[in-house]
């Protein structure tokens, strides 16, 4: 099998990784923000419930979570109620990453000194103005480095979807083993290197953009 054919097949698989990455990022970021507000809620039962969810998501293997989301509906509700493989993967990834992101948001928000909010209050600003004009940019600046870490991990984690037989790049590459070809597996690593190379450049750019002030 030619190098070009292998490349095309791996690229086909990598499309799933990219999709899973994009969906997770787009949905887990806002969900994570909502979850972080939940953990910081003064209404204790809500805070405990949300913290419990974060605990479960961060303390069990993502692989296991994938299996549960994919198999559980069928087991509980009978055949025909399962999500598609990609659908299940997306749900598990969003739930898992929202938990991690929420902790980063929480750290970022709680890291802004109370004096910043108070300075806005004594100037007669509304809560909304204080959040958008004062707090938000400081939070973003604080969370870019830890968020970058999570995002780079997410790129690599998308390959875990092969546990529920999503035809992503590592699954495709591994299957070449059946034809006694091992190099496609190593070659698959290049796709991740290139993708994360771009992600790293974008993160550096964001950090540079925000370097005009210090928090």
């Amino acid at each position: 099998m030619s190098f070009q054919t292998v490349t095309m097949m791996l690229l086909e698989g990598f499309r799933y990784n990219c999709e899973l990455f994009a969906v997770t990022l787009i949905l887990a970021l806002p969900l994570g923000l909502v979850v972080s507000f939940g953990t910081m809620s003064p209404f204790k039962p809500l805070s405990w419930l949300v913290r419990f969810y974060v605990y479960i998501m961060r303390s069990t293997p993502l692989m296991l979570q994938l299996a549960i989301v994919f198999y559980m509906p069928g087991i509980l509700l009978g055949p025909g109620h399962s999500l598609s493989r990609m659908g299940a993967a997306a749900v598990a990834f969003v739930l898992n990453y929202a938990a991690y992101f929420s902790e980063i948001f929480r750290g970022g928000i709680q890291g802004v000194p109370a004096g910043q909010r108070e300075a806005g209050q004594v100037l007669g600003l509304t809560k909304t103005q204080i959040f958008f004009r004062i707090t938000l940019l400081q939070v973003i600046k604080r969370i870019v480095p830890p968020m970058g870490n999570e995002i780079i991990t997410l790129v690599k984690d998308t390959s875990l979807a092969n546990f529920i037989m999503v035809a992503e790049i590592i699954k495709i590459a591994k299957d070449f083993g059946n034809k006694a070809m091992i190099w496609p597996l190593f070659y698959a690593g290049v796709f991740f290197l290139v993708f994360n190379g771009i992600v790293t450049l974008l993160l550096n750019l964001a950090e540079k953009k925000l370097s005009y002030f210090r928090v």
Binding site: P113, G115, Q116, Q121, V122, Y212, R214
Partner: protein, 262 residues
Amino acid sequence: MAILEVDGIKKDFGPTTVLKGISFSLEEGQALAIIGSSGSGKTTLLRCLNFLETPDSGTIRVKDELLFDAADPTTQKEREIRRKRLHFGMVFQSFNLFPQYTALENVTLALKLSARERPDYKTRRRELLTEIDGQGMALLEMMGLKERAEHYPHQLSGGQQQRVAIARALALRPDVLCFDEPTSALDPELTGEVLRVIRGLAEKKTTMVIVTHEMAFARDVADQVIFMDGGVIVEQGPAREVIEHPTQERTRQFLSRYAEQP
């Protein structure tokens, strides 16, 4: 006529009572210094005036308008509080400048946001914003910081940051300007420049409440002094009298500790 009247302010934090019934009044154009050791309730009192803490009982009046009455919840509505706060300006011990804005933007932010609520904002936007920038520049010039207008807080010394913070508080033309230990976070060589600015404001008859540990400054600049201890006012009167000839034993003890310092 008294511009500020505070009556019977009490404040508990859990089991500890921080303010045990504070009453005083302040004439327009006068500077009041509040002295006392840490934990005596000075800062909490200032925070009550700025609605950063809600007193458990007591009233606050400015220009005869009842701003706060602990017994009357209608005086404590979020929306009303936002407007009432503007009677007071606040300068914090730790400056609390907004790091992502330049010195000038720090001073003009609140004015620019409130200008948006004006009916003619849409048609005269550019004109209004230029006008506000002009006001901001004038304030920075008054603070001796004209050349630093485009600097971000981290590019300024502590003393310069605190002067920007004073300009920011003045921008909204408060009736009473409050200072919470404005020089306590500064190196000794930088306190002078901030104290000079406050002295200048006193000469211009700015009504001020200043919590401070600088006794000589309080004596020379303030008209009135309040000595607080354990959440009560122990002694109050004309600044020079209280600091040079205190009548209360506790005031004498407190002041003698300062006199011992070189």
